[in-house]
Amino acid sequence: MSRRSKKTSKSWILLLAGALFTSVAAYFVLAHLGAPYRTLQPLPVAAYVQNSLSLQGNTYRLSGQIENQMLWDKGFGRVVSILTSEGLVAVVFPNTVRADNLQRGQKIIARAEVGDKGILKIEEFSKE
């Protein structure tokens, strides 16, 4: 009786571990597959800061936290500083992008294009 009980316990532990691994793996796979702009390359912040002109015309995925609204113009839009994992960058939210209720501390993921004079313009974004 005792030998049979030990065999049964081991089986259950292995089964649970396998199920847990499967669940975690499934979560990451699903999470990756469900993330917005997952097809876009993340913005190389260091390179951008060093010379934004060299990245003109490129579109990147930008994720970070809203640090400060630097300027707002009703006719044109707003300029906001974003704290990325590599540092601060300034981005323009044109009026063409619906950007209601942006405020400090909000995390966003955006598709941004390095435009004329290296200015980073948000084309689309979502709040996390």
Partner: protein, 615 residues
């Protein structure tokens, strides 16, 4: 003004020239008697010349000056007059009651002598007036003048008695002559009858010769000649005695007139007319004085003229004194003092002047002293004192015209300061001789100029140490070395005290560094709190305006401490210059994060954000 002009002659010369006409002198005494008291007093030697008569001083009332002996004298400043004027202003007024009684006495004498008409009453009136004269001489204000007149009257009377004695002597001599002539006649007839027949053969010529020899032997002709001579001599002496007495009396009257004792002069005239009632009133004066009388009084000099002038002057004095008192009461002291002085000069002994209140005179004295101080200050070119005196004078003399004095001060100040400024320039430029010459010129214009003394000291200093300091300052100003000027500011401030053209740039240099020092102190304090980046920014801004070495030094020190911020800022600036707006924005954001509170990133981010949004 005519009396004033005459009186001035006496005031100036102190001498009355009288009777310059030739008066025969004789040493022989009259045959019958020698007149008593016959002297030459009061009779001037015609050969003598007295100052002030050959050339008569002329008063110009308009300018208050006297022209005499080729020179112009200020009436108010003439020492003798001024002394008398001041003495009068300090004297107490004569006791009014006493003076009134004395004045009444003099008036009565004049009236008594004026009232006499016929010979009888004239004699009585003269006697009464003579008695009053004695009484008047007892008053203190009279100063014994009535006694002098009295003495002169007595002398005149005695002179008349001597004339009578001479007449008696002449009568006796006339009788003697008649007696001798009779005797001669009788003797001649008796002698010719006895000898005519015996000597007929000698002829007529021989007869005459014998008669002549006979008469000579009797001495009748000799005696007759002596009598004739004595008679003529006595006639001459009688005329001389009267003439001398008259001259003496006239001398006294004129003397009294020129002493401005007009009432006494009038009394003298009246007594003279009483004693010598012969109608001869002509004054025996020198030609110049006669001419002066004629020109000023419009008539020939006589006792009547003198009396008329005396009365006119007394009236003028009274009116002038009244006007002066009125002006003084109305605070118009300048005019009041002038009117009073004009009245005082001819009317020193007039009742109106003698009884003037002492308080009024003291007010005038106070004004006069200030006026004299003012004149002295003008003479010595003490413009500071003039400036102090003018308001003082204006307090009591609202009519005092200070325009010319103020003009004088302004002109002198401007000229003196101009020379002092030139002296300072010369000293600063090392032109010692020019500086001294300019100072001397300034001193001649305004000897007691307070600025002159200061300038002299300053220039002395400038010419030694401060001259070098100014030279050094000039070099530093050219180099724009504000720091060096600031570090030696005490020396340079002292040096530029008398170099006005350098004061402004020196002050500006010192102020610039003072501001720099304030920013440096603030930056040091910020750095001490750990915000080296902000401190650096403060100094960097300052460094863009000032190339002060101390700023550069501290900026370099802070650059090391805030290198990350400085790098970010410099990179941002470079990016902005290249129109790399994206990078510039990111870099300024980094700089701002490194130095919270820094102004440059904020300003630049605002500007670049605007550019970014427009695009």
């Amino acid at each position: 003004m005519a009396p004033s002009r005459l009186i001035l002659i006496t005031l100036l010369s102190g001498t009355v020239v009288f009777g310059q006409q030739a008066v025969p002198q004789t040493s022989a005494a009259p045959a019958a008697s020698v007149p008593e008291g016959t002297t030459q007093k009061g009779v001037a030697n015609p050969a003598s010349k007295v100052t002030g008569v050959d050339e008569v001083p002329l008063l110009d009332p308009g300018s208050e000056t006297i022209f005499w002996d080729g020179k112009t004298w200020s009436m108010g400043d003439q020492r003798g007059l001024q002394a008398r004027w001041e003495k009068f202003l300090n004297e107490p007024e004569d006791e009014v009651e006493t003076y009134r009684a004395y004045n009444d006495q003099l008036t009565e004498i004049i009236n008594v002598l004026s009232a006499s008409s016929n010979a009888q009453s004239s004699s009585e009136a003269t006697a009464r007036a003579f008695a009053l004269l004695q009484q008047a001489s007892q008053y203190r204000p009279d100063a014994g003048l009535c006694q002098t007149i009295s003495n002169q009257v007595v002398a005149a009377w005695r002179g008349s008695k001597n004339g009578a004695a001479l007449a008696a002597a002449n009568r006796a001599l006339e009788n003697e002559r008649k007696r001798v002539e009779w005797n001669k006649q009788v003797t001649l007839q008796a002698n010719s009858l006895a000898q005519f027949g015996r000597n007929s053969s000698d002829g007529l010529a021989g007869e005459n010769k014998k008669a002549k020899q006979f008469l000579e032997s009797t001495g009748y002709d000799k005696r007759l000649t002596e009598i004739e001579t004595q008679l003529k001599g006595n006639d001459l002496k009688g005329e001389l005695v009267i003439a001398k007495r008259k001259l003496e009396f006239q001398a006294l009257i004129v003397q009294l007139f020129f002493q401005r004792r007009f009432q006494h002069a009038i009394i003298g005239v009246r007594f003279y007319n009483s004693v010598y009632g012969d109608g001869d009133n002509e004054l025996q004066l020198g030609e110049d004085t006669k001419n002066l009388f004629s020109r000023t009084a419009g008539m020939s000099p006589s006792l009547f003229t003198l009396e008329s002038l005396a009365r006119e002057t007394m009236g003028d004095v009274q009116k002038g004194t009244d006007a002066a008192i009125f002006l003084i009461r109305h605070n118009e002291m300048a005019s009041g003092a002038r009117r009073l002085m004009e009245s005082f000069l001819p009317g020193e002994y007039a009742p109106a002047i003698r009884t003037l209140e002492r308080d009024t005179k003291r007010e005038v004295l106070s004004y006069e002293r200030n006026r004299l101080k003012l004149l002295a200050a003008v003479e010595t070119k003490d413009y500071t004192l003039i400036g102090e005196l003018l308001p003082e004078i204006a307090k009591t003399a609202k009519d005092f015209d200070d325009t010319k004095y103020r003009g004088l001060i302004e002109t002198a100040k401007a000229q003196a300061n101009f020379h002092i400024a030139k002296a300072q320039d010369a000293a600063v430029n090392g032109e010692r001789a020019n500086a001294q010459a300019e100072l001397q010129a300034a001193g001649e214009i305004w000897p007691r100029n307070p600025a002159l003394e200061e300038a002299s000291k300053a220039l002395l200093s400038i010419s030694s140490g401060q001259g070098k300091a100014l030279k050094e300052l000039d070099d530093l100003l050219k180099q724009r070395n504000d720091r060096a000027i600031y570090d030696q500011k005490e020396k340079f401030i002292s040096a530029v005290a008398f170099a006005p053209d350098r004061q402004e740039p020196t002050k500006a240099a010192i102020e610039r560094i003072a501001k720099v020092e304030a920013v440096l102190a603030m930056a040091q304090e910020i750095a001490r709190t750990g915000n080296a980046a902000l401190a650096w920014e403060k100094l960097d801004k300052l460094h863009q305006k000032s190339k002060d070495a101390k700023v550069s030094e501290q900026l370099a020190d802070l650059s090391a401490k805030a290198s990350e911020y400085v790098s970010a800022l410099r990179a941002a600036e470079a990016a902005a210059t290249q129109q790399n707006i994206g990078s510039a924005l990111a870099l300024y954001l980094r700089a701002q994060a490194l130095a919270p509170g820094a102004e440059v990133p904020v300003e630049q981010l605002a500007q670049l954000s605007k550019q970014a949004l427009e695009k």
